[in-house]
């Protein structure tokens, strides 16, 4: 059998794809995580010997028969990948080298050169300008993400396990809310926010993010809970457990990774939001994105400061991605592969 081998030892969950299941089924299950799924192709031309050794399984036919044509193709593939890597990393390079230059070295003709000696002037100037806004963003994104997740979890529980007549239609109507251009609600939203006295404040912006986060958080949790066998709930019902007890004692203990996915997703989108923040907050309450855009739009600010500011703005979500990338990717899939 050459179609599959054991998952790589480095993969802690050790999940693998189910050969034979239809693509639609697997996608519909929405539990697919390309970071988890390991299917080793059996095309010996494409398989590197090292990979096989690491997976610790016997190799199908002729793993060592690398023809010259296969080698050339493989070389071309790596060359193309490398070009894309350069493209993806070029902006990061510019960010890093520019932010580490002293103002005297930030001239246009030295844009791609390394900073020497490196200087933290840019960072200290950017931090002085942006620190209050950085704090604002934390005060905004953390509560918004937590409250959104709790709300999404309860909604998902109802829509997955307590379906009522028209529940699916209602769900589709809720989902529409995540696709609308927010411009279509922005004008009356500012009116409503100032009527209730929340215009300009961080609290108001938190509320807005929670409301417009309902569709995506409900979607992710609904699909997450749909995968939990209903028999489990039925058994609990027979034992006399009600709506809340089932949630607390069955669903919630199984929800950890769902919460991680949703928390990351919401933290990410709230932290990176610009439109709501720019429209609904005023200066002392600006979050990072608005302050950065303002800083970068000013001709009086040196490039090293702008780039350092951009790096600081990107840092929290980048860190989350680096540490919890697996869950980040699962959120990406959950938010898009709805079935």
């Amino acid at each position: 059998m050459s179609g599959e081998t054991n998952p790589q030892p480095s993969d802690p969950t050790g999940r693998r794809s189910t050969p034979g299941a239809a693509l639609g089924d697997i996608l519909a299950a929405r539990k697919i995580d390309p970071l988890d799924v390991v299917v080793v192709t059996d095309d010996e031309e494409e398989v590197t010997a090292t990979k096989r050794v690491r997976t610790g399984t016997s190799v199908g036919r002729g793993a060592h028969s690398h023809g010259p044509r296969a080698r050339i193709l493989r070389f071309i593939m790596y060359a193309i990948l490398f070009v894309f890597v350069l493209w993806y990393l070029a902006p990061v390079y510019v960010l890093l080298v520019t932010s580490l230059k002293p103002s005297s070295q930030v001239t246009l003709d030295k844009m791609w050169t390394l900073p020497w000696p490196p200087s933290l002037d840019g960072f200290s100037a950017a931090w002085t300008a942006l620190a209050p806004n950085f704090v604002n963003s934390l005060k905004l994104a953390i509560p918004a993400a937590i409250l959104s997740s709790i709300l999404g979890s309860m909604n998902g529980y109802v829509l997955a396990k307590w379906k009522f007549r028209g529940a699916d239609t209602l769900f589709t109507l809720i989902l529409f809310g995540m696709f609308i251009p927010y411009q279509a609600i922005l004008i009356p939203l500012t009116q409503v926010m100032s009527d209730v006295g929340l215009y300009g404040s961080i609290q108001g912006l938190i509320l807005v993010h929670i409301i417009y986060g309902i569709p995506i958080t409900t979607l992710i949790f609904r699909n997450y809970y749909a995968a939990i066998p209903t028999e489990l709930l039925e058994a609990a019902k027979v034992d006399g457990a009600g709506f809340i007890r089932i949630y607390r004692s069955i669903l919630l203990p199984l929800s950890a990774s769902g919460f991680v996915v949703v928390l990351i997703w919401q933290f990410n989108s709230v932290w990176n939001d610009f439109l709501f923040a720019a429209t609904l907050t005023t200066q002392p309450n600006w979050p990072m994105t608005v302050a950065l855009n303002n800083l970068a739009g000013s001709f009086a600010v040196d490039w090293n400061v702008q780039m350092a500011g951009a790096l600081i703005a990107a840092m929290p979500t980048l860190l989350v991605f680096i540490i919890l990338g697996r869950y980040f990717v699962r959120g990406l899939l959950a938010g898009s592969l709805k079935g």
Partner: protein, 337 residues
Amino acid sequence: MRISRDRATSLLVIAPSVLAIGIFVYGLIVWTGYISTVQWDTLRPDYTFVGLANYQAIFAQNRFLMDIRNTVVFTISFIAASLTIGLLLANFIDRQIRAEGLFRNIFVFPMAISFIVTGVVWKWVLSPGTVETITTAGGSLLVSRPQGVNQLFGLDPASNRWLTDSHVVFLAPDSPLYGFLHSVGLGFLTSPNIGIPIALFSLVIAAVWQMSGFVMVLYLAGLRAIPEELKEAARVDGCTEWRIFRHIVFPLLTPITLSAMIILGHISLKIYDLAVAMTPGGGPGFATDTPALFMWQTAFRDDHFGRGAAVAIVMLVLVAGVVVPYLVWTRRQEVEA
């Protein structure tokens, strides 16, 4: 008795969210629709009914026509480039490459960054630099100081204008197609308003940089869900790798391609952050302007709230035209499953 009490609790739990969506999504959309039919063009709300005058006003504005042209060009090139790159990278990554995780992370990390950061960096990289004329005793001298990509690749900033390029490619009257289009009654297609603004591609580069990794993730999930036996059977029958991809793999990826197109499409129809960060003024001759930017500036900078609402409703109709069929389609699939 138990069941009905639980049922009541469940409805009570979901009620606040349903109410919030009902008011803040559907209610406010209706309210925006109403605002688009009233006078309101100062800071103070003015609900004098004006019918469709705001819509007539925006469609009479050249800037809005440019925006629609830009949206079409941007959407098509953004989707095409993201899908192509995403599919290519997913295929490569699915081929047992070394350091797979590293490659994957490099391609996906831009998704964790805000469009504002992306825009700030790419604006700098895609600025052409300057060309100055210095007058000396012996005559005038052109001194070019290339910046960003121009500097990196030794290109001349005078001919590689990137974000600042004001050219719009459209059919010249002496091209054969021009006469043909006019003869078949499609002459309007040759209008400069329907051309392709070159500066817009700088925005496309930045947007594709941010989103192609996402498409890669989608395709990678799809590729890894395709049973290996299927490909193996084709191989036994003597199919080449290309034919397997063309006739087996790619058709199986159709649902993913469709999802990706919808998601990228609705992002590009309402793209705002990136345009603000890269060209807050809309670029040369509004070459990089977008409806979202126009809407925001019309309403919140110039206080023409009626007209801003009209732009917003046009945007909503465009997005709904893409998304509603998709939602209905996925809903049906779910019912079948």
